[in-house]
């Protein structure tokens, strides 16, 4: 496999083309400083299917934000083509896009209603639409009754909520969220997750850039992982995280140890009280179930073994580091 090539690709670009693509990036590159300069993004391809929540993952400096900025016209790409909803990603089609930047900030002397008014007007809404949508969105993001408070008095989490509201003011077909849970408390993070799921249910496409792997795992249908400006992996979450050939067993029993016949095939054992979770080869599942059953254990679940996104991510970065070394 060539260095830095995507490791798994269950959602191939060919496959993605069979469905409508809401966002398509081909060969995006951004270099700073001329020949020999710094390459922030190196020929990144990205395909986001309509109505899906797509995660863009990567460590700091991976090129996530630069890729989003090129898509949205904030940074001029060195190379590459960008399209949104089937059109070149210019100002016209951006009227159908909502964007939440990382740690959004607004003129501090304005209030939330004025910010929504500005963005509503820029999106072509009339005064009545802005008023209706504005009050609805402020309530939806938990800022009901705070619309006339100056933003200089807002906490970072409240600014984040204003940012989400302005991104949704024009009922966009595509929403690009850069670290949407940044600065939010756990309740706020849950609200953002629910919001993304609501958007998906309503058919809105969401491109989510995040460090928070649990957030990505909870809401994303597919992910693209960037590292050092390149795509390291892409695909459906399940395909990326399921461990081929192994099954995870969760069983409950009174015994302090598992039957001896199982111990020779089990791995990744975790015990909490009387509950045991371990993995076994797929080929041994039937035998393991019989042994547990014969010994009076209660089997609570048998599912394909899946590593956490954190584990996957750490492993992927480790491999990349080794390749570079």
């Amino acid at each position: 496999m060539p260095r830095n090539a995507p490791r798994r690709c269950s959602v191939s670009r060919m496959g993605a083309h069979r469905e409508t693509l809401a966002i398509e990036i081909d060969g995006a590159a951004k270099r700073y400083g001329g020949p020999g300069g710094f390459t922030a993004v190196d020929h990144v391809d990205l395909a986001v299917r309509s109505g899906r929540v797509h995660g863009l993952l990567g460590p700091n400096g991976a090129g996530k934000t630069t890729t989003l900025k090129m898509l949205l016209g904030l940074v001029r790409p060195t190379e590459g083509s960008f399209s949104i909803l089937g059109e070149p990603a210019g100002p016209t089609v951006r009227a159908r896009v909502g964007f939440l930047p990382e740690q959004p900030y607004f003129p501090p002397l304005l209030n939330a209603e004025e910010v929504l008014k500005l963005h509503g007007r820029l999106a072509g809404l009339d005064a009545a639409q802005i008023a209706a949508r504005g009050s609805d969105l402020l309530a939806r993001v938990g800022l009901e009754g705070r619309g006339t408070t100056r933003l200089s008095k807002y906490s970072r989490g409240m600014l984040q909520r204003v940012g989400i509201a302005q991104a949704l003011i024009a009922e966009p077909e595509v929403v690009v969220l850069d670290e949407p849970a940044s600065g939010l408390d756990p309740v706020g993070q849950r609200d953002v997750r629910n919001l993304m799921l609501e958007l998906r249910e309503s058919g809105t496409t969401v491109l989510l850039s995040s460090h928070q792997l649990s957030e990505v795992e909870a809401v994303c249908d597919e992910v693209t992982i960037l590292n050092r400006g390149r795509v390291s992996a892409r695909g459906a979450i399940d395909d990326l995280l399921n461990v081929a050939g192994r099954t995870s067993v969760r069983a409950r029993g009174e015994s302090a140890v598992l039957p001896a016949d199982i111990q020779s095939v089990m791995e990744d054992v975790a015990v909490s009280g009387s509950v045991w979770v371990f993995s076994v080869p797929d080929t041994a599942v039937r035998a393991v179930v019989d042994i547990l059953d014969d010994n009076g254990w209660t089997i609570e679940s048998i599912v394909p073994k899946r590593q956490s996104l954190e584990e996957y991510f750490s492993h992927m970065l480790e491999v990349t580091e080794n390749e570079v070394a």
């Binding site: 016209g73 100002p91 964007f99 930047p101 002397l109 304005l110 007007r121 820029l122 999106a123």
Partner: protein, 243 residues
């Protein structure tokens, strides 16, 4: 046009809440109020002195307000990333720079209106005559301040606030030394020298009967030319910039 006005409206809402703007206005107005306490001159002269000093104060205050509002507007919006959510909409870069300038120019117009009302009212109350020509002077001052704001927007599209401030002062200096550098209109370069002298009508307003409508039209055309050229430069500079 709607997007430009939307951006301008947000700039006005933000700018009129800046304390520094109104501190400058208040300070200038206090000075205007004390002008009548200057040593008395002969009748007819003291009114002219009042008009001259009042317009000079308004000029300085308007230029300071223009620099305060325009020099750091775009750099701070880029640095704070407030510009992101605006530019990712159906907004062209030139619409953003133009809307920013229009908002600053409207705020300057509001400040100039306040200046004008106070200067006019003080003159009428103290000297018992309505000095209508003062409004010509206020209009000229607003035009020049708005041109300075356009210059700041153009430079700030590609440079830091410090560079903007220094270059704006240099711009003001260079655009007012045509007569010193070239002598007079007989110099062949006279018509080509970039000058803001057309807006300097303090002398005819303070000591004469003001300027004609034709001259005001000349000022308006000059204003539109300066603003247009500077806004094109602002748009070109900002269009190529990564934010």
């Amino acid at each position: 046009m709607g997007r430009i006005l939307a951006i301008a409206a947000a700039v006005v809402s933000d700018a009129i809440r800046r304390r520094i703007v109104w501190v400058v206005v208040l300070f200038a107005l206090i000075l205007v109020a004390v002008i009548p306490m200057l040593p008395s001159y002969g009748q007819g002269v003291i009114e002219a002195v009042y008009r001259e000093v009042a317009l000079a104060l308004v000029y300085v205050a308007a230029i300071v307000v223009a620099l305060v509002l325009a020099a750091n507007r775009i750099p701070s919006e880029v640095e704070r990333r407030t510009v992101y959510t605006v530019l990712v909409r159906d907004v062209r870069r030139w619409e953003y720079t133009t809307g920013t300038w229009v908002g600053i120019a409207l705020t300057l117009a509001a400040a100039s209106l306040v200046f004008g009302v106070i200067v006019f009212a003080t003159g009428w109350l103290v000297y018992g005559e309505p000095m209508w020509t003062l409004w010509q002077g206020v209009l000229a001052i607003w035009m020049e301040a708005a041109v300075v704001a356009a210059f700041c927007v153009a430079v700030s599209a590609v440079a830091s606030p410090v560079i903007v401030g220094v270059s704006a002062l240099a711009f003001l200096f260079l655009t007012h030394v045509r007569a010193d550098l070239l002598g007079g209109p007989s110099n062949p370069l006279w018509s080509f020298y970039p000058s803001l002298d057309v807006f300097n009508i303090i002398a005819p307003v303070a000591h004469g009967t003001g300027v004609s409508l034709a001259y005001i039209a000349t000022m308006a055309v000059t204003f539109a030319g300066w603003a247009g050229v500077l806004l094109v430069l602002a748009a070109l500079g900002f269009a190529r910039r990564d934010v």
